[in-house]
């Protein structure tokens, strides 16, 4: 199969995103800023939007706000346009994007607005930890007191035991994320991280330190999706083709897992996306993957087939994922550097990859023509993989 001969028949016409970090706007306000920016980027009027999908994890618990999608649609002036919230923990925005694509492929509309948003930083660390733990199976993992740093702490220690992954390799992941994020004007942490930062960082869930954890943040990101061939003005930026957008479910609790060092939902979604797009891992020029913790970048890289099992940590340490390496990963700084407003992350990845495919990335991968976004929810209970290509 030749790359680009198949696809979904859906293009990304425009993208928008707020800076991530501590924000004063309401959750609806954040979503509207990103959405308006995406519509302006696309050169498409709000009246053309036929459906809205909003990815969000915990607006009810953290922001006290339900009915999120229709509230955003009304605030955007979209009148009676149907607006739907989807939830898949940290993969909520990837799922929103996929639902938007399906709305177009099912011919229910030609134009969809996909938005991801979360507001977290106004709540205490304990409240946010509680909210994030709602993604665990409440009858088993939640009962035992599993937190998300705790889950990835268990993954890290097991990865160390199975493959010899080292503390220094985890630090290398974080250091590289900081190097890239300092150039990203939308990133929450725009600074380098060094040995002193790692040594002084407190333990959160042994062996993971605070520097291994993506920062709690507020933010929103959005994309305007159109049917291929939808009219375009000469002034609008080049459109990006969606070659594949796949989603898979995985084990809902540790007792359902076969291994702590792999997420089956990622493998299933990636396999389906590679098949649908006609691409393999070797054909992808740039990747944005879900490094909610330093160990996650290592496991995700292996699950996506970017490196053989057990070899990603050394590959990252030796610079193979740098922009000039054989597998450029997370030029945005990833979740570790950009921040992780959980419901927004999947579309922030799309924002970055669209910039890359337009040749306009803050940390541009030279000549990037194909890109992959990987979004992971909960302890691997859901994953989306999206493959994009420039025209």
């Amino acid at each position: 199969m030749v790359i680009g001969t198949i696809g979904t028949g859906v293009d990304i016409a425009g993208v928008g995103m707020t800076p991530f970090g501590r924000r004063s706007e309401s959750i609806v306000g954040l979503a509207c800023i990103a959405a308006r920016a995406a519509l302006e980027d696309a050169g498409i009027p709000p009246a053309a939007v036929g459906a809205v999908y909003v990815g969000n994890f915990m607006s009810e618990y953290l922001a006290g706000q339900g009915s999120l999608a229709p509230l955003i649609a009304r605030q955007l002036g979209l009148g009676s346009t149907p607006a739907t919230k989807v939830e898949g923990a940290c993969a909520s925005a990837g799922i929103a994007l996929r639902h938007g694509i399906m709305a177009i492929t099912s011919q229910s509309t030609d134009v969809v607005l996909a938005i991801g948003v979360e507001k977290m930083s106004h709540r205490s660390l304990e409240d946010v930890t509680t909210g994030l733990s709602f993604a665990s199976d409440a009858t088993s993992d939640g009962l035992a007191g599993l937190t998300f740093p705790g889950f990835f702490g268990l993954v890290a220690r097991r990865h160390m035991a199975e493959f010899g992954t080292t503390r220094a390799q985890l630090d290398a992941v974080r250091a590289r994320s900081g190097d890239l994020a300092q150039n990203n004007p939308l990133a929450a942490f725009r600074r380098k991280f060094g040995v002193a930062d790692f040594d002084q960082a407190p333990l959160i869930a042994d062996p993971l330190r605070r520097t291994d954890c993506s920062p709690i943040a507020d933010g929103a990101a959005a994309a305007v999706l159109v049917a291929a061939g939808y009219p375009k003005s000469a002034a609008s930026p080049s459109r990006i083709r969606v070659l594949a957008s796949e989603q898979a479910s995985g084990p809902g609790s540790i007792s359902q897992m076969q291994s702590l060092t792999s997420f089956p939902a990622t493998i299933a979604a990636a396999s389906a996306a590679y098949e649908r797009s006609g691409c393999g891992p070797e054909d992808i020029d740039v990747v944005e993957l879900h490094d909610c913790f330093s160990i996650a970048q290592i496991v995700d890289s292996e699950d996506l087939g970017l490196f053989p099992r057990g070899e990603a940590a050394a590959a990252i340490e030796h610079g193979l994922t740098m922009n000039d390496g054989i597998r450029p990963i997370n030029p945005s700084g990833g979740l570790l550097g950009r921040g992780h407003p959980v419901g927004a992350t999947g579309l922030a990845q799309i924002y970055e990859l669209v910039q890359q495919l337009r040749g306009a990335g803050a940390n541009q991968v030279e000549g990037a023509k194909t890109a992959l976004a990987h979004n992971l929810g909960g302890s691997g209970v859901v994953s989306t993989v999206t493959i994009l290509a420039s025209r």
Binding site: D141, T147, P149, R157, R158, P202, L203, A205, D206, S255
Partner: protein, 106 residues
């Protein structure tokens, strides 16, 4: 007194001895005399917990009857992956795993 656990015949979930059906899949359970013995797959110490939980506390993933189980771990410090662990009790429906010889540095 020998501890007794209820183990789900369908999914392997471990419950208090009083549980006649599994709280996860609602299939029947069978009673098994303890202590339960398994192999330590991984562990972590939580220092930032959900609201209302007192930190720090340890968690262990244990391989038992071909299945991974998550429970509390006490003590946990410097426990070696692959070592034997035992469970003599459940607290609030969660197994509490320990190292038989009292290992760990806590």
């Amino acid at each position: 007194m020998t501890p007794v656990f209820a183990v789900c015949q369908a999914c392997g979930n471990i419950a208090d001895a009083e549980a006649q059906v599994c709280n996860r899949c609602f299939e029947g359970t069978e009673l098994r005399s303890g202590p339960l013995r398994g192999e330590l797959v991984s562990w972590t110490d939580i220092t930032v917990g959900p609201a209302g939980m007192t930190v720090p506390y340890g968690l262990a993933v244990v391989m038992l009857s071909g299945m991974l189980h998550l429970g509390r771990f006490n003590p946990s410090g410097n426990a070696e992956i692959g070592s034997d662990v035992v469970c003599n009790e459940m607290v609030n429906g969660v197994c509490v795993w320990t190292i038989p010889n009292g290992g760990g540095d806590k």
